[in-house]
Subunit: 288 residues, 2 copies
Amino acid sequence: MNVFVIGIGLIGGSFAKDIKRLRPNAKIYGIDTNASHLDEALELNIIDYKSSYSELSEADMVIVSIPVDVLLTEIPKILDAVNDNCVVFDGGSTKSLICKTLEDHPKRRNYLASHPIAGTEFSGPSAALENLYNGKTNIICEVEKTAFKLQEKALELFQEMGMRIRYMNPEAHDKHIAYVSHLSHISSFMLGKTVIEKEKNERDIFDMAGSGFESTVRLAKSSPAMWTPIFEQNKTNVVETLEEYISNLEAFKELLLKDDFKGIYNEMNDTNKIKEILNGIPLNKKIE
Amino acid sequence: MNVFVIGIGLIGGSFAKDIKRLRPNAKIYGIDTNASHLDEALELNIIDYKSSYSELSEADMVIVSIPVDVLLTEIPKILDAVNDNCVVFDGGSTKSLICKTLEDHPKRRNYLASHPIAGTEFSGPSAALENLYNGKTNIICEVEKTAFKLQEKALELFQEMGMRIRYMNPEAHDKHIAYVSHLSHISSFMLGKTVIEKEKNERDIFDMAGSGFESTVRLAKSSPAMWTPIFEQNKTNVVETLEEYISNLEAFKELLLKDDFKGIYNEMNDTNKIKEILNGIPLNKKIE
């Protein structure tokens, strides 16, 4: 099997690592605009060969893990280049615009819209992790638009990688993901900004910050090149979540200003049920 | 050595566990208004005896790990009851009000104002962890007001536990800790609230949330009984941090609404330097 990984960083590289283990005969071809990433991926044995679009006709599977703005221009070209038995899937964090863009593409049936909910705040080939996807959710959109045999080829791999599959339409995906992922990133970036601005003398942060702070600002290490186009494509949903978040923060501030500490207690107590919700998140759980 | 732990939960229980290892001859006495916590602590071998204030005169060291509102009424009584060679220290997350409250106490010299920056989102004796404090910072306020020999007794223990000691005045402590701890908790609670409100159907959160969401809402599991009085005592600083945070979120939203994605990119890129700052946080680093 010839697998092409376009964008060989955390997401694509982690796919490559699992495929090497699960499909020992697979040959992994890497394509990346960043030449040093490509060298690094070869050196780390994540890919077997450097490649280019001109070889895409040989591909049995193409994994596209590039920023969501570039996806829009690249996936049509990739589809043009692949053969009829090749499945092309992506890992983008927005799904509406790419599905809309490919709606009338003659090779729409070769594309599977997917979003594996996995990652870390790091990027590049050295951030790739074996088993990153084990126990994680992979959201598939418009599955019915992909040729059945090609669905099967991709889903078999996802299942062997230990992923839980969920089907959703692209609009629902983008709306919910704004709440459980995109908003977290903004909250974290702006928290980091607030503290950095205030604490010009970094020694104070350095000494006083604990694991709680670290946890809430971890996502502020994320890549701006990856996240800017996500916010752009999912702007409407993201603005809505931001408005609700800001209004909850304002309400909390008002309770403080009114010395309504019973109200403050209740706000926190009501939100404590996040414990049970988080217990249900399959973060690192292996599938039986 | 007789060590009394008043409030035998995560913080007090973790002290007890380290003391048992480092001072094999120490006897640990537990005092708690929650009778089942006291039973649990005895069962888990965190304390050797249940005790009460009437035995406090036998104490060589008293660790007070109770909510910061209760600290204000209890520490004066504890100081009244202890002998002259006993050191009393606390783990409260606010320092101005307790220092002010004890200013004229005849036994002020027996008290050491401390705030070990350590913890988890869990509480109760079963949450106590050996080595929780190893490599963490302990902030000491108004050290000059504590009798030298008593400072020495406490600091020797802190150092053997692997803590880094920092000295700070109570007002500076409360101001900085609002940024690097208290604000993180509010940001996390309100993020949890926003998502819970929206996602009435919890199945959607359950399936789509990843480790990023988990990380940013982890602190929303924290105890409201502990956190309400912290926000009350540090209200002025907390409101200030909240206002700055809200204004940064508003500015981010405005950039989105204006389609200023270059600006969005820059906001995130500028905040990426949190990486270097977080690398400096002694979260789990052992002291050489």
